[in-house]
Symmetry: C2
Subunit: 327 residues, 2 copies
């Protein structure tokens, strides 16, 4: 088995997850973490992981098979993915849905000119959820597709709660509405807005002397953020918050409900429960890094998305093994 | 949009399902049903569907893009798929897991020699479930994969119940154990045998004068079939059986439970709820027929399985549309 030589660009929660995920893949070795920070200030999970300045990549084209890009979608990836695709085969998890076409075009041009392969938007949404939306509507041509997000930590909504007078600390979870899911699973094909599909749950540490009822009222009536939703507020101590709410869980459901003939309902449901969103996203990125290496080796140059990747390319097993063991 | 011209070979429950599924796909037209029976004796769902003798296929190579093979895996497909792949692009739902490698080899040889494309084992298990087993272990390299079947009608077990003295009519459903699913979802990664993962439910119409308790006892203690399982027996009238148990439901779960780092559990769950197993399987076959036509047009000849098919090939939408709308 040839080992795929992987480089990580950017070392936040996602880069850390990629370091962990690569260590679980038997056919991969980690060449190093490449950072814009001073490498001496970066502490990796494994002591043996080399940390280098991003500029060192310039001289390493022959030493790395795939770069896993772990920057943010807002400003890092729109620059980095085309730039690095000009010299390396790359994967990213670009997740600004509305800007995927322009990101694809920029990356495709760079990768085609360089003769590299660039696999973009390979996390779970976009990524695995997208694949399941596609399978759902392709198989059950007559029907509706529903995406529910959560139970997941929402950074923007957590910040909104923290700005309420009397709140010392807080986190907010977005949770799929059980009632909405039950209706979809039952084949009702209801029309549901985002707010009907989700409820919100807040865990709040009060400042000393703050009035719990007033805080609760300020939260649940906050326009846009909470007022349109069914919102629950729990109060807890700073110790409890630190103990029970430090994870970054996320996940959700993609459900396709359709009829194969009048009155015959068919339901396809895909569900993710992630105890750590960045570690899960990283695990997906790393499986797609394997696919990217294979596409590059097969001369498939240019930008690709998860829609273009045959499932078998994600597995370390041979096609014969896959047919015998998993089909 | 070019219409894919589809032929159906064999017209039982599955062929009927394919006829229905093709009618829901805007980019497909049905050339006809091809049968070994006297065409005059075959009644299709739609009056306008042409029914022809299977021998007529010989002269129709240029008129059909893809043949959807709807025979059984025991004796029909091992002969028909290689035979027809010698002249047509074909898809089948060959589902004898243990014999997939030899079926693949026979079909591959025929298709390569003829310059056709043959997509085998494209139902839901093998098929969609297989893809999810592959995704699960590729993404969460450290973990366990669980397949649960049901709630589904089991023909063999229904027959076994019908042979019990005092039983006039019966059906049996295999049902995933809720307890087992809960343990897997909780990240326990339990070791579970097939019998621990499933319970059995029987719906029995008694013969006149039969002793319900004796019948129940005979069923739940039946070696191999029911004794090892948690089995429930319900008695009902012939009218209730006819009214409530004529469907052919099936489905199940594929769950991958893994750890991305010590103590951090990630769960991927795929679930199918089919009110009609043959209609659902047919819907999958038809989506893969589209992929087969595209692979054939691209010169990808030989046998393929769902592991070799990029998701985008299943959709009538263009790659640009898919990236903009579904990614």
């Amino acid at each position: 088995m040839t080992a795929h030589r992987i480089g990580i660009v950017g070392y936040g929660n996602l880069g850390r997850g990629v370091e962990l995920a690569v260590s679980l893949q038997e056919d991969m070795e980690l060449v190093g973490v490449f950072t814009r920070r001073d490498p001496a200030t970066v502490t990796t999970v494994h002591e043996y992981t080399p940390v280098r300045a991003i500029d060192e990549l310039e001289s390493m084209t022959g030493e790395i098979d795939v770069l896993v890009l772990c920057g943010g979608s807002k400003s890092d990836l729109p620059e980095q993915t085309p730039q690095l695709a000009a010299r390396f085969t790359v994967v990213d998890s670009f997740d600004t849905h509305a800007r995927i076409p322009e990101h694809f075009a920029a990356v495709d041009a760079a990768a085609r000119e360089a003769g590299t392969t660039a696999l973009i938007s390979t996390g779970w949404d976009p990524g695995l959820f997208s694949i399941n939306r596609l399978f759902g509507e392709s198989i059950l041509a007559s029907g509706e597709t529903y995406t529910f997000w959560g139970r997941g930590l929402s950074q923007g909504h957590s910040d909104a709660v923290r700005r309420v007078d009397g709140v010392a600390a807080a986190v907010q979870y977005t949770i799929p509405s059980e009632d909405a899911i039950a209706r979809v699973r039952a084949g009702e094909q209801p029309e549901l807005s985002t707010r009907e599909k989700h409820v919100r749950e807040c865990y709040v540490v009060l400042e000393e002397g703050a009035d719990a009822d007033a805080v609760r009222e300020a939260i649940v009536t906050m326009p846009h953020y909470f007022e349109p939703y069914d919102t629950t507020v729990h109060f807890l101590t700073a110790e409890e918050l630190a103990r029970d709410h430090q994870g970054m869980p996320h996940g959700g459901f993609v459900i396709r409900s359709g009829e194969s003939s009048p009155g015959t309902t068919q339901t396809i449901e895909y569900r993710l429960q992630e105890e750590s969103n960045p570690e899960f996203t990283a695990s997906v990125l790393v499986a797609y890094a394997r696919a990217a290496a294979r596409l590059a080796a097969a001369g498939e140059h240019g930008a690709r998305t998860p829609f273009d990747v045959a499932p078998g390319l994600l597995s370390p097993k041979s096609p014969e093994q896959l047919r015998a063991e998993l089909l």
